[in-house]
């Protein structure tokens, strides 16, 4: 039987797009506030997951924990200072954790994780990923000598 392919141009037109837009917009407007927040939180969570999963991040593409936290602050319309107060910390102290100047500890991680409703390990993984990306490729070669095969050949 010959394949008859249906093309988007056969079914797609401005009138249809307008109808869909109108339907989705109406549905979006009528969603409860909790659902609207949930949609935005999921969007950030998936971006975070994709960042963690990527293994081709270059140094100029590094995103600090602060970059992700800023997205959450925008959703809740609060400042970093407000968040620091909420966490019972000084703003300058929180800033150091979020920008990688200070290593994360379980207490800070659990606070961020609870605030953003994400898994605690995500935040550690962002930290570790960024540290490894910052370690230049040439420097990483230094560690090749620790390959177990070299140990076995001694």
């Amino acid at each position: 039987m010959k394949n008859i392919e249906i093309l988007p141009k056969d079914i797609w037109n401005d009138d249809k797009l307008n109808k869909i837009n109108e339907f989705v917009r109406k549905h979006s407007d009528n969603q409860p506030k909790e659902r609207k927040i949930r949609n935005k939180l999921l969007s950030i969570q998936y971006k975070l997951e994709d960042y963690i999963e990527r293994d081709d991040i270059k140094e100029n593409e590094i995103l600090d924990i602060l970059d992700f936290v800023k997205l959450y602050l925008k959703v809740f319309d609060i400042t970093k200072k407000d968040l620091a107060k909420y966490f019972g910390m000084r703003d300058s102290n929180l800033h150091k954790y979020l920008t990688g100047k200070r290593k994360l500890n379980p207490e800070v991680v659990l606070k961020i994780s609870s605030f953003s409703r994400t898994k605690p390990e995500y935040w550690y993984r962002v930290q570790v990923k960024n540290e490894i990306v910052k370690l230049k490729k040439e420097d990483r070669k230094e560690y090749d000598k620790y390959d177990y095969e070299k140990l076995l050949s001694i």
Binding site: P8, I11, K16, L17, K19, N39, L42, K47
Partner: protein
């Protein structure tokens, strides 16, 4: 992204990947290989993003293919989705390929700040097949029909459920 599909014969989970195709688009499936859509041709359309699903075991074999348009103002439009001919019917090699690709499209909708809304059209030569397919999309993939048209939409709640079922 990493996903798991099911091997029909053994019912075992098979590690797989969905990834964006940016090079060698000419090597994508086309009509003469038993596929219904010419992915090789459509993938070159402006604003279209093409993704393929392959297993880690046989990365050279395409198990399913997806083309989405993320530029629509309020939703992502799923222009084409299809599983490989060997993943269709009673003798299919793998299950969950379509579910993973549709859930992936829903996830792209959230990422692109479209609240998980995913629109698509269901078109078949015979009206009865179209109705059957729409019922399947409605039951299996939480889609709702737009009026009496051929367009269906997966809304945020339905999208989130699919992502949890197929991608997590």
């Amino acid at each position: 992204m990493n996903v798991k599909i099911l091997e029909t014969a053994t019912k075992s989970e098979i590690k797989s990947q969905i990834y964006l195709v940016t090079k060698n688009k000419s090597k994508l499936p086309s009509l003469n290989e038993g596929w219904r859509f010419n992915f090789s041709k459509h993938s070159k359309t402006k604003d279209y993003e093409t993704y393929i699903l392959t297993t880690d075991k046989t990365p050279e074999i395409i198990e399913g293919c997806l083309i989405i348009d993320t530029k629509s103002p309020h939703q992502v439009y799923m222009a084409f989705v299809e599983v490989a001919p060997h993943n269709r019917g009673d003798e299919k090699r793998y299950e969950r390929v379509a579910g993973c690709l549709i859930a992936f499209a829903c996830r792209q909708s959230f990422i692109n700040d479209k609240e998980g809304c995913l629109a698509f059209d269901v078109l078949e030569e015979k009206k009865e097949n179209e109705t059957k397919l729409m019922t399947l999309y409605s039951k299996r993939y939480n889609a709702v029909r737009l009026d009496t048209s051929t367009t269906m939409i997966i809304l945020p709640e339905g999208s989130e459920k699919l992502i949890n079922e197929f991608l997590n």
